[in-house]
Symmetry: C2
Subunit: 457 residues, 2 copies
C-alpha cells in the first residue's frame, strides 16, 4: 500500500475534477466458484484500489463532493470471523491507513444515497462489470439493469488520473515486469517436445507464486498460438511446434506485467519459422523505436502493419502496394489484433471504463477488422505505460473465410497462405513507459531475437 497522502491526493484531484455531486465506488465482493464459500482468489476493483487502497471484500465508498465527505462502508469482523479467518485490523484501522476517518456499516449506504437523491445530488458511478455491481445499483439506487448508466464525467476524470503513472506506480509496475520476465525466461528454458502445455504453464506460474505474486490474467501457453486467447493447456508438445506464451505477474498491490514469448519446441527455429519470426521482430523493434510523446499509437500500429506487409511480400504471402494493403486492412488476415494497450492496475488498464476513453481520448475508433481490436490509438504522453505486442498468425478458419469471400485478393496470395495453415502463430511482447524524450522498457530483458531465444534452449 502507498502512503495515506497518496490516496488523499488522488481523491482531492478527483473531487476537483468532478466538481459536485456524490461519487459511489463499488468495491468487489468474494465470488463463489461452485458454492458461496468456495471463493476464487479475491481481487479488489482497480479504481477502488487506486483511490482507497484497501484490498478487502465487502467494502463500498462514497465521496460526497458537495459536503466534502469521504466515507467507507463495510462491516466489522465478529468473533466467528476471527476464529475462521484470523485476527485482522478493524475497519476503522484499515480506513486510517488510507486517510479515511469516517466508516459506517454497509446497511447505512442506502440511507445515505436516498438522502443524496432527495437533495438533488447526482450520483456518479463507473460501469458495472460484475453481476454483484448490477445488483447493488438495483438495490441501493433503485435502478433497473437497463437504466444503470454510468457517469461519463466520472469515467473521464478517473482516466485522466490513472492513465498517467506516478513514480511510485512505475516502481510497482516494474516489480511486476521483473517477475513477468522471470516467468518467460523459465518458460523459454522449459519448453520441450513430449510434455504437456500445462506442465510449462505450471512452471511459469510457479515463478510468479514463488515471488509472492499472483497472475495478472489467465496464462496463454499453447502450441496453437494462432488462437489469440487460448486458455486450453491440454495438448502434448511436438518437435515441430512453435510454443506461444502470453503471461504476466500481478504484485500484491495489484499492478500488472504482461509479456509474450514464442519458443521453438525443437532446440532451434526451422528456416521457415525463423523467416516469419524475423518479420515479427522487425515489427516489434521498429514500433519500440517509434515510441515518443507526440506520436499517436495508431500511427505506430500502422507502421507495424506496413512492416508486416513488406515482410510477407518478400516471403510471397502478400503482394501489391504496402500502404494500400494496410489501408484496406489486408494485413489483418495475419495480424488480427492491435499493437498494444495501456497497462497499470489492470493488465488492459481500465478496460471496464471503455477503451474509447482510455485509449482514444473520446474520439471515434475504426470499425475495420483488425484495426478495431487496437485498444489504444491516442497521442502518447509521458507517464503512459503500454505494451508492444505485434504478432503474425496463420488462422486456418480465417484463411478459408477470406479466401472464399475473395477478400483483399489484390494483396494476399491465398495459394501460399494455404501452405502455412499448420504454422501456428508468433507474438513477442514487452512493456514500455513513455518518457519525455522517448520510451523506456520496464523490467528486465526477455529473449527477443531468434539468437537470444535459442541461447536459452
Amino acid at each position: 500500500m502507498f502512503s495515506k497522502e497518496t490516496y488523499m491526493q488522488r481523491r482531492a484531484m478527483l473531487k476537483k475534477a468532478i466538481g459536485s455531486g456524490v461519487v459511489l465506488f463499488l468495491g468487489n465482493d468474494d465470488m463463489g466458484l461452485n458454492y458461496a464459500d468456495n471463493a476464487c482468489h479475491y481481487r479488489q476493483d482497480s479504481t477502488f484500489l487506486y483511490f482507497f487502497g484497501l484490498p478487502f471484500a465487502g467494502l463500498s465508498a462514497i465521496i460526497d463532493v458537495d459536503e466534502d465527505e469521504e466515507i467507507i462502508f463495510g462491516d466489522e469482523l465478529t468473533i466467528d470471523d476471527i476464529i475462521w479467518m484470523g485476527k485482522q485490523p478493524t475497519l476503522r484501522e484499515k480506513c486510517e491507513r488510507v486517510g479515511i476517518t469516517t466508516s459506517r456499516p454497509t446497511a447505512e449506504i442506502t440511507k445515505y444515497l436516498h438522502a443524496a437523491a432527495q437533495k438533488g445530488q447526482p450520483v456518479h458511478y463507473l460501469p458495472p462489470y460484475r453481476p454483484e455491481h448490477r445488483i447493488k445499483l438495483l438495490e441501493w439506487l433503485g435502478l433497473p439493469f437497463a437504466r444503470q448508466e454510468s457517469s461519463t464525467s466520472l469515467i473521464r476524470a478517473v482516466v485522466a488520473q490513472r492513465n498517467y503513472k506516478s513514480e511510485e506506480e512505475i516502481i510497482e509496475i516494474e516489480k511486476a515486469c521483473n517477475v513477468t520476465a522471470d516467468m518467460h525466461i523459465a518458460a523459454t528454458k522449459a519448453v520441450r517436445p513430449d510434455i504437456y502445455e500445462y506442465e510449462v504453464a505450471a512452471i511459469l506460474e510457479g515463478v510468479a507464486f514463488t515471488a509472492g505474486c499472483n497472475l495478472s490474467f489467465a496464462t496463454i501457453a499453447t502450441i496453437n498460438g494462432q488462437t489469440l486467447h487460448n486458455h486450453y493447456h491440454g495438448n502434448k508438445i511436438k518437435q515441430s511446434d512453435l510454443f506461444l506464451v502470453d503471461a504476466g505477474a500481478e504484485t500484491p498491490m495489484g499492478y500488472a506485467g504482461d509479456m509474450s514469448s514464442t519458443i521453438p519446441a525443437g532446440k532451434t527455429f526451422t528456416a521457415r519459422q525463423r523467416e516469419i519470426y524475423q518479420i515479427q521482430n522487425r515489427m516489434h523493434r521498429e514500433s519500440v523505436k517509434a515510441l515518443r510523446p507526440g506520436i499517436t499509437f495508431a500511427e505506430v500500429y500502422d507502421l507495424s502493419a506496413r512492416i508486416l506487409v513488406e515482410g510477407l511480400t518478400q516471403v510471397g504471402l502478400m503482394k501489391g502496394n504496402p500502404e494500400d494493403a494496410v489501408r484496406e486492412g489486408a494485413h489483418a488476415m495475419f495480424y488480427p489484433h492491435g499493437l498494444g494497450h495501456m497497462m497499470g492496475l489492470d493488465v488492459h488498464d481500465m478496460e471496464n471504463l471503455g477503451e474509447i476513453w482510455v485509449g482514444y481520448d473520446g474520439k471515434p475508433k475504426s470499425a475495420q477488422f483488425g484495426r478495431r481490436s487496437l485498444r489504444l490509438g491516442r497521442m502518447l504522453e509521458p507517464g503512459f505505460v503500454l505494451t508492444i505486442e505485434p504478432g503474425i498468425y496463420f488462422i486456418p478458419e480465417l484463411i478459408d473465410k477470406w479466401k472464399a469471400e475473395k477478400k483483399c485478393a489484390d494483396f494476399i496470395n491465398y495459394d501460399v497462405a494455404e501452405t502455412y495453415k499448420d504454422f501456428g502463430g508468433i507474438r513477442n511482447e514487452e512493456d514500455y513507459l513513455i518518457t519525455p524524450d522517448g520510451s523506456r522498457r520496464l523490467g528486465k530483458k526477455i529473449p527477443l531475437t531468434p539468437e537470444e531465444v535459442e541461447a536459452l534452449r
Copy 2:
C-alpha cells in the same frame, strides 16, 4: 466426461423423483475479476456437471418433466469467437456428447419459461449462490431477489443422487486424491525455516497444475494453523513453527480431493508439539476405525471429541468427566469445527444445497458452538465419500473470550491454556469411501504419525 448413458440415466432418475413440472438448471458464466474479460478460472456449476457434463460458460438447461423434454440453451460461436478462442465443437455437438438432442439459443429460454408458467407448471430450481444466478431468476422468471425460493423437492432429489458415488465417480475422486496426496508429500518435504508460506504454497499447487489438475479450493498453507480458513501466505516460517497445509486437487472433470497435513518447521516435532500431535492422531485413527454403514457421523464426531478431552486432560489442559465435557461443548474451545464433510464434485459436496439436506437428511442440527460447524451428522451409507479431519487449536482470541466469560470453567484449565497461546494448530485429513462393511481410504497414503512426517523431513 462420462459416457452419454451416464448422464441420460442420471436425468431419468431425477425426472422420476420430481414427477412433474419444469426443472431449470443455471449453468455458471465467466466471472470478470477486475473487468469483464479478465475472467478467473472457469468453473461450471457442479449440479449442471452432474446431469449435463458440459464444462462451458453461458449454458442453461431445462428438463420439462411433463413433456419429457430435455433442452440446453446456449449460443453458437461466431467467427470472431473462433479467431480469439480457437475451433470448438458446435453447441449441437457438445449436447450430443451428453445425450441431449435439443439445443436452442439462450434468448428463447424466457419464452419457454413463460409458456410453462401459463400452463401452470411449477418451475423448480436450486438455491442461487452466484449473483448472476439471482439476476437470471429475476430476468427470466420475474422473481425479485426476496422471492427467489428454491425447490426443496429438487434439492432432496439431487442430494439423493449425488450423495451416493458410483464406481466411475469413485475412480475420478481417487485420481483427485492421488494428486492431492502428492501435493502434501511435496509440502512435507519443502517446509523449512526462513522461507515464506507462499513458497510452500507455490510448490504444492505446482504439483496439482503439473498433473493437469486445478485446485479444489483455495490453499491453506500457514504457520497460523489456529486460524481455520487462513488464506494469507505472506509470513516467514520460523524454526519453532508448526506449518499447517489444507489443500486439494480438482480433476478436469471437476472431482475434488481434500487433505491436511501438519509439519514441524524444525526437522522434528518438539516434545510439546508431539504430545498434542499424538492426541490428534488418536482422534483421527479412532474416527477412521469407527466408519461403517449404520453409525451416524455425529457419533463419530462425539467419539473424536471424547478422545480429545481425554488426551487434553492427561496434558492438564482439561479436567472433569469427558462425557460431560463433550455434552457441554467444552472440547470446542480446542476443536471448534466439525470432523468432516461429504466430498465429490464440490470439496464440501453440495454445500450450496444446504447441509441440512446433504449432511443431516433434513433433520435438525445442533446450534452449540463447535458442533454447529459439523457439516455431516447423518447415518452413514455405502457410497458416501467424506473427509476425516479432526483438529486441535489454540486460538488466543477464543481463549481470552471464554476465560473472561468463565465458560466451561469446570472442564478447562485456563491457566494452562494461557501457556499454549503461541502453539498454533494441528489438523490431519484424509478422504474415505463408506463401503458395505466399513470404509476405504481414497488415494495414496500421506504421512500421519509423527514418525511418518519426520521421515520425509
